[in-house]
């Protein structure tokens, strides 16, 4: 069988399949359904410096082949995460990726310092959450903002830093380059696409937050295109995500330029989706004679 292991920004991943932040909590719930050690890594629920209650419900709306969510970074805060969740996560035998959002550059740095000290394997810097006013897209929509956060986190982090980009920009390549130039060790993309649904009977938005982030198969082609654009713009490795449901989708994302992939919304249909995606990648590699998964990254043959 093909070798699925990947060295990603200096961190060894036993498979190229990780689970996406916000879809997997802190791992406890899915641990009741499968052995989490088979995952390449777990991106934990987005953390902020202080606890957040998140947005009022409804926080989810189904769309054709997608979902809109507006959770709004509900989380216990970075200190309680380190105390209550990280010790158990570290025993799982998979990489732990801490996802952080801040209101200010200083908050990002403070969290990164605490988390890298506490021993996470990678820090994912979220400059792309569409559901809260600060702490997200505010930084990610400009090259300067993305660079400022990246620099501040890099200055204090002892572990590799991955910057998560928002698709809600005109030129993803420009932001990707800014993050790389500021010292990012890797990129992850895409976060959700800002969307809205309205109930025509009540004339009210379906989400209590009015707008939310779109994910699922509906965004997959956008994600493939953006990963491909980012791949052409930077040399650092990329974690590709956005609507991956199958092994074939993951292979497509890797051909576009992803070194590893993240599975999120697919979990809601099939809780075992990460396993099936992993199996699907392995099958493709075997059928096409690739001994190692990293050989397909960026191998799209353009017209």
């Amino acid at each position: 069988m093909a070798d699925l292991s990947v060295n990603f920004a200096g961190v060894p991943f036993k498979t190229p399949v990780v689970v996406a932040s916000g879809t997997f909590g802190f791992g406890r719930e899915y641990a009741e359904l499968f052995d989490l050690s088979v995952l390449g890594g777990i991106c934990v629920k987005g953390l902020t410096l202080r606890p957040r209650l998140g947005n009022p419900p409804p926080r989810i709306a189904e769309t054709p082949m997608g979902i809109l969510n507006s959770v709004g970074l509900q989380n216990p805060g970075v200190d309680r995460f380190i105390e209550d969740e990280l010790p158990d996560l570290k025993t799982l035998g998979t990489n732990i990726i801490a996802n952080i959002s801040g209101d200010t550059v200083e908050e990002y740095a403070e969290m990164a310092e605490k988390l890298s000290e506490a021993g996470v394997d990678l820090i994912e810097v979220n400059v792309s959450c569409p559901n809260v006013k600060a702490g997200g897209a505010a930084f990610g929509v400009s090259p300067q903002g993305a660079a400022a956060v990246t620099r501040a986190v890099k200055r204090v982090s002892k572990v590799p830093v991955m910057v998560k980009l928002t698709p809600n920009v005109t030129d993803i390549a420009e932001i990707a380059r800014a993050a790389e130039d500021a010292g990012a060790d890797a990129l992850s993309l895409i976060n959700t696409i800002l969307g809205m649904r309205i109930d025509i009977k009540t004339r009210r938005p379906v989400l209590r937050n009015n707008t939310g982030g779109l994910s699922g198969p509906a965004v997959f082609p956008v994600a493939v295109r953006m990963v491909w654009q980012a791949r052409r713009a930077v040399k650092i490795p990329i974690c590709g995500m956005g609507g991956i449901m199958t092994g074939e989708d993951a292979v497509e994302m890797m051909l576009a330029g992803a070194d590893i992939v993240s599975v999120g919304t697919a979990l809601f249909r099939d809780p075992l989706a990460p396993l099936r995606v992993t199996e699907g990648i392995a099958r493709y590699l075997d059928e096409n004679g690739y001994p190692n998964v990293s050989e397909i990254t960026g191998k799209v043959q353009l017209y």
Binding site: G22, T23, G25, L33, I60, E62, V71, Q74, T265
Partner: protein
């Protein structure tokens, strides 16, 4: 612990317009299910999300679910036929806590079904079941076969007592001695039930409904604001609920 399993439909019965009862052979899941828990059901290829459906009853390997056709997911479930196989994740959630004594069950509309299993699990039970209209009344005979007193109300007055559940509920709380009230139905009804129970100092548990994502407690979309000892928090309807102590819910 939930299981991910496939279960064949043995029987489909129409209970009321747009409401069907599905009886499944769920060998793995049914023996695990407790009153008030739910199953998260995959609804074909066109619907990305599973749909949470309360367990109406579980006996041996047999699992009963009642589905009201509301949107695309429940339309898919309503159109299933005997022999069709469903992909189920469950049982999920925190159900009713049932101890000794006599319980009063208060159901509203499609919130009525999960109370049937609760009724069968309680040492003694009475029920107040409220419906919108006479032709929407479901499961009355099932409750009568298990419960002591059963009162049915309809808002259109076409069947049973006219009005909603609150009147009969207060009378029963006044005359009876209940260990607790177990309620499931629309949110305004639950709030009224919670207030009545607080006035009569009877412990009340409510089963809430919210749009769900993962169903297992990971994605945090089905949030419910609760307060305990003066501390507010967002809890997960799918994992910490769907059944909550009424006094903890921020209505």
């Amino acid at each position: 612990m939930p299981v991910l399993t496939r279960a064949a439909i043995r029987e489909v019965t129409t209970l009321a317009p747009e409401v069907v009862r599905l009886t499944l052979d769920a060998r793995e899941l049914a023996p695990l299910a407790k009153p008030g828990q739910f199953v998260h059901i995959r609804c074909g290829e066109e619907n990305l999300l599973r749909r949470p459906i309360s367990v109406c009853d579980a006996k041996g390997e047999s699992l009963t679910l009642v589905v009201q056709r509301k949107g695309k997911g429940t339309a898919y479930l309503s159109e299933r036929r005997p022999g069709d196989v469903l992909d189920l994740l469950g049982p999920l959630g925190h159900g009713f806590e049932i101890g000794e004594g006599r319980y009063l069950l208060v159901g509203g509309g499609i919130g009525t079904p999960p109370l049937l299993y609760a009724a069968r699990s309680a040492p003694q039970a009475d029920a107040v079941l409220g419906f919108r209209a006479g032709d929407a009344v479901i499961l009355e005979e099932d409750f009568r076969s298990i419960c002591g007193a059963v009162v049915v109300t309809t808002e259109d007055g076409a069947y049973g007592l006219p009005g909603n559940v609150t009147g009969p509920l207060k009378e029963m709380l006044e005359s009876g001695s209940y260990a607790g009230v177990l309620a499931c139905g629309p949110r305004p009804m639950l709030r009224a039930v919670a207030e009545a129970c607080a006035a009569f100092q009877v412990p009340c548990q409510v089963s809430l409904e919210e749009r769900m994502g993962c169903g297992v407690g990971a994605c945090l979309v089905c949030a419910c604001r609760t307060a305990k000892d003066g501390r507010e928090e967002m809890r997960r309807v799918c994992k910490d609920g769907p059944v909550f102590r009424a006094e903890e819910v921020c209505w």
